[in-house]
């Protein structure tokens, strides 16, 4: 970042960045610098940058930046900032994603710290936009204006998004985690059924009072193996929303798969445990949570978040409307529940808008609405609270910006993931096909079919939501005589309505270049053979796979390269197609919490050294101590001990690492020594000592962790088999070890038991002593769930002694 900021306006904005956002930006900048110097391992930095929204593109050396826009809500000032940044450091285009984010492409890593600072200055963060964390919280873009909603979900989405941002309990997931809000059951806007958590607004009467709550769905998701969500709770009271989300996160952290990435999403855990057991575990975790005033403090803001119109309500007068207005009005305008107001969708081709357009659109928004703009899941922009009498004038303004396209969310408003344009996982060009279909289906002759949807993913992972489209495609390929042709698998009959209530079925694949002809043929078939009011999904079901296949067969043949070389070139390309997939980063790098925390410690040492240079000795020592505490906490997580107060750290660290001589004693003393010092009595010499000793401490912590990994690998390595495994011992068996877990809370008692069992042989016995109450309810059940046998349980005073045999 430049030392001097010549732009006075920006300098003033930077000075107003909230401290928490400012710290995100500062930490990111430091870590980028340290990575460039080679001080941070690549896998740790990859997950770190992902958690800050910076994603490696298919093309080497450039990044995609995903910018979180909670529930898609944007102000005019934010729109201008996004436009400016896209122009300066990307390719001049902002891309709206299916999670109501904004993505920029072809960004250099060196440009990202200043970009984050500028975003922070208008209240935007990229933190946790990618990686194995809670992603952008989405919500129905019409929330608060919709005629069908139970209530406005906006304040709840807002509260949950910011409560979960950086929440310490949710930093150690095996995979990403997605949350969506919907105001009603029947419409598709929220897509609650395809989320890890889907919250659908519901109300009920309690003692004559209308009580707000949510039907809470869990374990939904698309991906290569789509799952419909299960109902966790038919009516979760509003005040339970935040703590329940944390409880679900805890269960996911504790029980979710961590080694098999393909099985690590919450949907697989819910499937494995069953919804009843999952619910029981969530309730159990909920019961353990200590009260947090933020669970309910946001309720005071619910009324404050009500939006206001800019202009008085009025009626539409389309007498002087320009050509095209009627068609646009039909498809892009919806009446609000408030009489005299409408919402207006601005159709973006493939979700793209140029910097010039977005900047001008910010001005247009100021003219008609009061910062009530939202990005939509179908990759468009929604103006809310437009006075109906302004619609014609607004349409004219959109014509000036070249944004008057009709058919929002309709047949030609094809939704596509980035595919081979930028994603490492892309197989075929989803955007290329989407662009072609958009061109071919924009004609008014298709308006009778505008209720149908087409969605395209570049690979089976479903970022383009092909499972919930009437006509879905996902990228594939076919090889013939040494040449490879891009293809698309066809998925038909998915339903967005009812919050994505059912998924389509794959029926076969066609060469990519044949896909538009196949679509038009299928549409003709639907148009001519559908019964009155028959939905496309019903039509597909009625036709059956055999008849669909016969239509597909007209387009699925792949002639040789010599006969049809055009079929071997993808949309938007000029060269022969080749498969160039890499390792995707959507799954993030699975970096253990301990590695992250050790990296934090390294960063604090670095910051400490910067303060020493500036002769800020108190801060030097404070950061040095912070680094030591963080490193000790990091090691303690390997024993299932979560960071608490520094004095707890010192005690547990002493017990588990110093007394057992796993950590070099003389270095271990530094942490206690510097805890006893006051930062106010620091001079240069003492501060230097603090930094040097902290450096030794943190280095030793890295060494201890490294040795632990070597031991783990040695244990995992199968021993050479010289004979058949011994049968399980019979009769009296020796108890290998006993653990005294009195006073140890859940889940740490369970984690420590599990860790000890991992060191033992199958069939060996372990004795543990745990407390009454939650521990005796939870620990045996969890161990049984892991496949271990509880041979005996004895009550001894206020405690229980369990005899466990390692069976798994």
């Amino acid at each position: 970042m430049p030392e001097a900021i010549a732009n006075q306006e920006l300098a003033e904005k930077f000075a107003r960045i909230p401290p928490e956002f400012a710290r995100h930006v500062e930490v990111f900048g430091i870590e980028v610098e340290r990575f460039r110097e080679g001080s941070v391992p690549e896998n740790v930095f990859t997950e770190f940058r992902l958690r800050h929204g910076v994603y490696g593109q298919r093309q080497d050396g450039v990044q995609m930046v995903r910018i979180k826009i909670p529930y898609g809500a944007l102000t005019a000032e934010q729109m201008e900032t996004l436009a400016d940044i896209a122009e300066e450091i990307a390719d001049g285009v902002c891309h709206v994603t299916t999670r109501q984010d904004i993505q920029l492409h072809f960004v250099k890593l060196a440009d990202t710290p200043m970009m984050m600072r500028r975003l922070a200055a208008v209240g935007i963060t990229t933190k946790e936009a990618c990686g194995n964390v809670v992603r952008n919280v989405t919500a129905c873009p019409e929330a608060g204006t919709c005629r069908d909603e139970a209530f406005d979900v906006t304040p709840y989405a807002h509260a949950l998004a910011y409560y979960l941002l950086g929440h310490p309990e949710l930093q150690n997931f095996g995979r990403k985690f997605k949350i969506a809000f919907s105001g009603c059951h029947d419409k598709p806007c929220g897509l609650a059924n395809m989320h890890d958590i889907g919250a659908v607004a519901v109300t009920r009467q309690e003692g004559g009072v209308t009580k707000r709550g949510f039907k809470l769905l869990v374990g939904g998701g698309l991906g290569a193996v789509p799952h419909q969500a299960k109902v966790l709770d038919d009516f979760l009271p509003e005040e339970e929303l935040l703590p329940t989300a944390i409880a679900i996160g805890r269960v996911f952290t504790q029980r979710g798969e961590r080694k098999l990435r393909m099985k690590a999403r919450l949907k697989f855990l819910v499937e494995k445990l069953g919804i009843e057991e999952f619910r029981r575990l969530v309730l159990e975790e909920r019961g353990k949570l200590e009260y947090d005033e933020r669970w309910s403090s946001y309720e005071n803001t619910v009324a404050e978040m009500t939006e206001e119109p800019l202009r008085p309500a009025s009626q539409l007068d389309a007498a002087d409307a320009p050509d095209g207005f009627a068609r646009w009005y039909q498809s892009n305008v919806s009446a609000q529940k408030d009489v005299g107001y409408a919402t207006v969708q601005i159709t973006l081709p493939l979700g793209d808008i140029t910097s010039d357009q977005l900047r001008d659109l910010a001005d247009v928004s100021r003219k008609y609405v009061k910062d009530t703009v939202r990005l939509t899941v179908p990759q468009n922009i929604l103006f809310r609270w437009v006075a109906e009498g302004d619609l014609v004038e607004l349409y004219r303004d959109l014509q000036t910006l070249e944004l008057p396209s009709p058919n929002a969310e309709g047949l030609s408003d094809v939704l596509a993931c980035p595919g081979t344009d930028s994603c490492k996982l892309g197989i075929a060009s989803s955007r290329g096909l989407a662009s072609e279909l958009r061109d071919q289906l924009s004609d008014p002759s298709f308006d009778d079919l505008s209720h149908l949807s087409i969605k395209i993913s570049g690979c089976p992972n479903s970022c383009g939501q092909h499972h919930i489209a009437d006509i879905g495609f996902f990228g594939s390929s076919k090889r013939q005589a040494g040449h490879v042709a891009p293809h698309f698998q066809v998925v038909l009959g998915g339903q967005q309505a009812g919050n994505a209530k059912s998924y389509g079925l794959a029926v076969g694949k066609v060469p990519s270049k044949n896909a538009p002809s196949f679509v038009k043929r299928l549409l003709d078939e639907y148009r001519s053979r559908k019964t009155d009011g028959e939905a496309f999904s019903d039509f597909v079901a009625r036709l059956g796979k055999e008849q669909i296949k016969s239509i597909l067969n007209e387009y699925d043949a792949l002639p040789s390269f010599e006969e049809r070389p055009d079929l071997y070139v993808d949309w938007g390309h000029a060269r022969e197609f080749s498969l160039q997939t890499g390792t995707g980063e959507c799954a993030g790098e699975l970096v253990e919490l301990v590695q992250f925390m050790l990296t934090d410690a390294d960063r604090w040492l670095y910051e400490s050294s910067l303060h020493l240079e500036k002769e800020a000795y108190g801060q030097t020592a404070q950061l040095a101590l912070q680094a030591m505490v963080r490193a000790a906490d990091a090691l303690l997580t390997t024993h299932g001990i979560q960071p608490r107060k520094p004095e707890d750290t010192l005690r547990d660290f002493q017990h588990l690492f110093v007394e057992s001589a796993r950590f070099y004693g003389p270095f271990a003393e530094f942490i206690g020594k510097w805890m006893a010092h006051s930062p106010s009595d620091m001079n240069e010499e003492r501060a230097r000592f603090a930094l040097e000793e902290a450096t030794l401490f943190v280095e030793e912590a890295h060494g201890v962790y490294g040795r632990m990994q070597i031991q783990e690998q040695a244990q995992e390595r199968p021993a050479p088999r010289t004979q058949e495994p011994a049968p399980a011992p019979e009769g009296v068996q020796e108890i290998v070890d006993s653990l005294d877990l009195k006073g140890v809370e859940c889940p740490y008692n369970y984690v420590r038991t599990k860790l000890r069992l991992e060191e033992m042989e199958i069939g060996q016995l372990l004795e543990i002593t745990i407390d009454d109450g939650e521990p005796i309810r939870n620990v045996p059940a969890s161990l049984r769930n892991d496949g271990q046998a509880i041979l005996d349980t004895k009550k001894i005073g206020k405690h229980f002694r369990l005899l466990i045999r390692k069976d798994a």
């Binding site: 010549a6 093309q59 122009e87 390719d91 285009v93 200043m114 793209d352 140029t354 061109d439 390309h573």
Partner: protein, 169 residues
């Protein structure tokens, strides 16, 4: 920094040809160029963009004005003036190559648009313009052999520091 050279005759730009044209550049120098981004679906957008490691070259259509946009992503070394000279020379080479390969496309040499991609360090103010004007004028003279270039700042405060470079008759 960016500079755009506008085409003489917009009708000469056959948009559908530019992907295959830039594919040739990509094949020739795979270490320099990364990929081609097709933005023809965006009206008045970036057109067809050849994405590179150090710079991008596009047949650009922003504000509906077709032209070659040269966008430097990693600055050249040296003083501000030296950097601009190196930038303009590179721009000139690319423009000459396109004109050689596509004789129907001619770029105007009497008008160009120069922009600084850094609103933080170079806001669109008269002061920032004054700070770069001499270097830009002198660089234009050295790179293009033009000693009467006129510089005028785009006064829309929302824009980057953008300078129209015109060369009279």
């Amino acid at each position: 920094m960016d500079m755009k050279l506008f085409v003489d005759d917009p009708a000469a730009v056959k948009w559908s040809e530019w992907t295959s044209y830039f594919t040739e550049w990509l094949k020739e120098s795979p270490d320099e160029w990364l990929d081609i981004a097709d933005y023809l679906h965006v009206p008045s957008g970036p057109g067809i963009l050849l994405v590179g490691k150090r710079c991008h070259v596009a047949m650009d259509n922003r504000r509906g004005q077709p032209g070659m946009l040269f966008s430097l992503r990693e600055p050249f070394a040296g003083s501000n003036r030296e950097r601009i000279v190196a930038f303009l020379r590179q721009l000139s080479e690319f423009a000459a190559r396109i004109e050689r390969d596509k004789p129907a496309v001619r770029f105007r040499r009497d008008l160009g648009e120069f922009a600084v991609n850094d609103r933080v360090g170079f806001p669109n103010t008269p002061e920032a313009f004054d700070a770069i004007a001499d270097d830009l004028r002198s660089a234009v003279q050295e790179a293009f052999g033009v000693d009467n270039a006129r510089l005028s700042r785009d006064e829309d405060r929302r824009q980057r520091l953008t300078v129209r470079v015109t060369v009279p008759g």
